[in-house]
């Protein structure tokens, strides 16, 4: 994901070529949501008629829905009319003009994460004129991807260039009316990634997207759609970072994965949205719907997530295992600190014969945070010989935090087998004393112990992501001891 200056310059050029930057800058919507806003959004994105209809239908559904309240999280009501649904980047003169003007605390964090200097500047919202997500990688590796027939582009581009694919699959896994936030996203999604892997193709490289939310950026309602045709394979990485802001920000993304016969998608996320400060001020509300449909036989999907950011995280990457012998995996590390709240887990819906699923969840709570695992394992009547293995481990740091586990099992098939293991442990004084007795700093000790706890999940991550995830834990845990 390292990007050279040359590539950045190319991107800048590219943006200007599209005339996009100027357009966005002059075009920030007033807060508020109504059909007019959606029409304007769709028009601005030059979408075909079907897309507008789809959005409006979703919006009408959303109006009839109520905000869900069942999660183990607590937050003031979101005023949906106080949000701007199309917010362009801040004007350059309002942004910090150089790294010297950026909060040193934030820079220190980036430095620890090993993010290269020019990247740091962009992350901090310095007026470097390169806003790029999936576009960057697509540009960098355009040729080999094209050669392989892989499509990797912003979803707004896909809507225009591949309307048939979008029409066929958008909303096929997460229908617009699936839940409150999915409906909202369907109505107003701004951008996101689109990936199409043709039959029999093994995507020649890992695809990655770095989402960056600036308050004024366009990432809050992103939408991702990945389609793996028969016998294909792709590993997709998603990194999320956001600068610090005092206001809470809503992030309601939808990710849909479609997997056909013998195909496999590996989807990895390192989520580090701004968690709020040590007093619980600010931070992202991360309400995300992620779901994979294993339609074909022997289809396989793995979700691996490392969730360290956000004030509130509310997400359940799920697998619908329809195809015979299809496999769903969920590997998760969720870390909460200070006043963060996380309610996360997965749903494994076994519909086909001999479908298998594995859930490994590692929850770490520090400070006054609250961390809940919520998982559903469901077996339909046709799920003969299906099995699930679930392991949920919680680790507590200090005694003011909380861990909760809510495993739900529903079975309509007697032959289905479920195994469930759960543990709760603490970073003990004895472990800390041992580390410190060997000369290790207390903070480094905690991070080492926590990394050890997460090992089973980290080994599922692609190498460079695993390294980043380890560092991220260290940074996220700062101030958790003493």
């Amino acid at each position: 994901m390292a990007t050279t200056d040359k590539e950045v310059k190319e991107l800048i050029k590219r943006e200007y070529e599209h005339g996009f930057v100027t357009e966005i800058e002059s075009d920030t919507f007033e807060p508020g949501l109504n059909e007019d806003v959606i029409r304007r959004l769709s028009e601005l994105k030059q979408e075909p008629e079907f897309m507008l209809e789809w959005r409006l239908k979703a919006y009408r559904r959303w109006l009839e829905m109520d905000e869900p309240e069942w999660a183990h999280v607590d937050f003031p009501k979101v005023d949906y009319n106080a949000i701007s649904y199309y917010s362009a980047p801040k004007k350059k003169e309002d942004m910090p003009q150089s790294l010297d003007e950026v909060d040193p605390e934030l820079l220190r964090t980036y430095e620890k994460l090993g993010i290269p200097l020019h990247e740091r500047a962009k992350l901090a919202g310095v007026a470097v004129d390169a806003v790029f997500d999936s576009v960057s990688v697509a540009t960098t590796f355009k040729e080999p991807l094209e050669k392989a027939g892989v499509i990797f582009c912003p979803i707004s581009e896909a809507v225009q260039k591949y309307p048939e694919l979008v029409k066929k699959y958008l909303g096929s896994v997460v229908p617009a009316g699936d839940n409150y936030f999915a409906a909202l996203n369907s109505a107003v999604f701004s951008d996101g990634s689109f990936v199409y892997i043709p039959k029999g193709v093994r995507c020649p490289m890992e695809l990655s997207t770095y989402f960056r939310i600036n308050a004024a950026n366009t990432g809050q309602f992103e939408r991702t759609l990945i389609i793996a045709e028969e016998g294909s394979y792709v590993s997709y990485l998603e990194g999320c970072t956001a600068p610090m802001r005092d206001e809470n920000q809503l992030h309601a993304a939808v990710v849909e994965l479609v997997i056909l016969d013998d195909a496999q998608i590996k989807y990895s996320t390192v989520q580090n949205w701004y968690p709020g400060d040590e007093n619980g001020k600010g931070g992202i509300y991360n309400f995300v719907t992620k779901r994979a449909a294993c339609i074909g036989k022997n289809a396989k999907v793995s979700w691996t997530q490392v969730e360290t950011g956000s004030a509130i995280t509310w997400k359940y990457p799920s697998c619908v295992l329809r195809g015979e012998n299809s496999v769903g995996e969920f590997y998760s590390v969720a870390l909460t600190h200070n006043f963060q709240q996380a309610d996360t887990g997965t749903k494994m819906i076994h519909l086909g014969k001999n479908t298998k699923s594995t859930i490994i969840s590692k929850g770490i709570s520090a400070g006054r945070s609250s961390n809940a695992y919520r998982g559903l394992v469901k077996f339909g009547p046709g799920a003969d010989g299906a099995r699930n293995f679930t392991q949920c481990d919680s680790l507590l740091i200090g005694d003011r935090c909380g861990a909760h586990t809510f495993p739900y099992i529903e079975s309509k098939n007697k032959s289905a087998i479920v195994e469930h293991e759960a543990t709760t442990s603490k970073v003990s004084d004895e472990q800390m004393f041992l580390c410190r007795q060997r000369g290790i700093d207390p903070e480094q000790a905690v991070s080492m112990i926590v990394n050890g706890f997460c090992k089973e999940v980290f080994k599922e991550l692609p190498m460079e992501f695993a390294v980043e995830a380890g560092k991220l834990l260290e940074v996220s845990l700062e101030g958790s001891v003493g």
Partner: protein, 253 residues
Amino acid sequence: MLSIKNLHASVEGKEILKGINLEIKAGEVHAIMGPNGSGKSTLSQVLAGNEAFEITGGEVTLNGDNLLDLPTEERAREGIFLAFQYPVEIPGVSNLQFLRTAVNAMRKHRGEEEMNAAEFMKLAKEVSKQVDLDPAFLKRGVNEGFSGGEKKRNEIMQALLLQPKLAILDETDSGLDIDALQVVSNGVNALRAEDRAILMVTHYQRLLNHIVPDYVHVLAGGKIVKSGGRELALELEERGYGWLGIKDEDTSN
């Protein structure tokens, strides 16, 4: 090197150490013996800086500097090493990673270059052989699923790696069979050096056949009740703690 003067310590409001006095010079090996519950581990932990214990009086200096003001990790970096009686497990953290982190923390403190993974691996393999521990143990989680004897050998391996100024060995002999005792003793004897002191805590005298101490102290009821040379240990073996007017529920071995 280490000077303990009238040290008092308590845990959960209960006084355990009731005025310990002890002088240890570089190059010396001291043995502290005493019945179970006499405060041997408490003394070891207090010297290493375990915050579960409260110092209620007295002073401890290391080469003239006040030790009691330093947090645990700084004492360690000043050269105090404790081989634990009951080493804890740290699941998922490999021994190798743990040890390299420790060694590098010490090196950093001394202003030396940190060791990279390959260099450290080489060193760790050599040292693990010294205590007859299969290098495969380096890859396992810290003490995770180790047998009692393996844990003890692992502790001595750490002392050999970290090369402390003062090594405190808390019941490093307990739970070892004869062969393992020999291996561990060889490790400890390899630690003996002009510029290093060793404080050995043991319930039994048999360890002292392998590691011959310069001084022997008997701890009872939180105080050192008798000090002497090597012969004191032999006398204790022969006559039991009762000879000193100390009750002990277990002196057999």
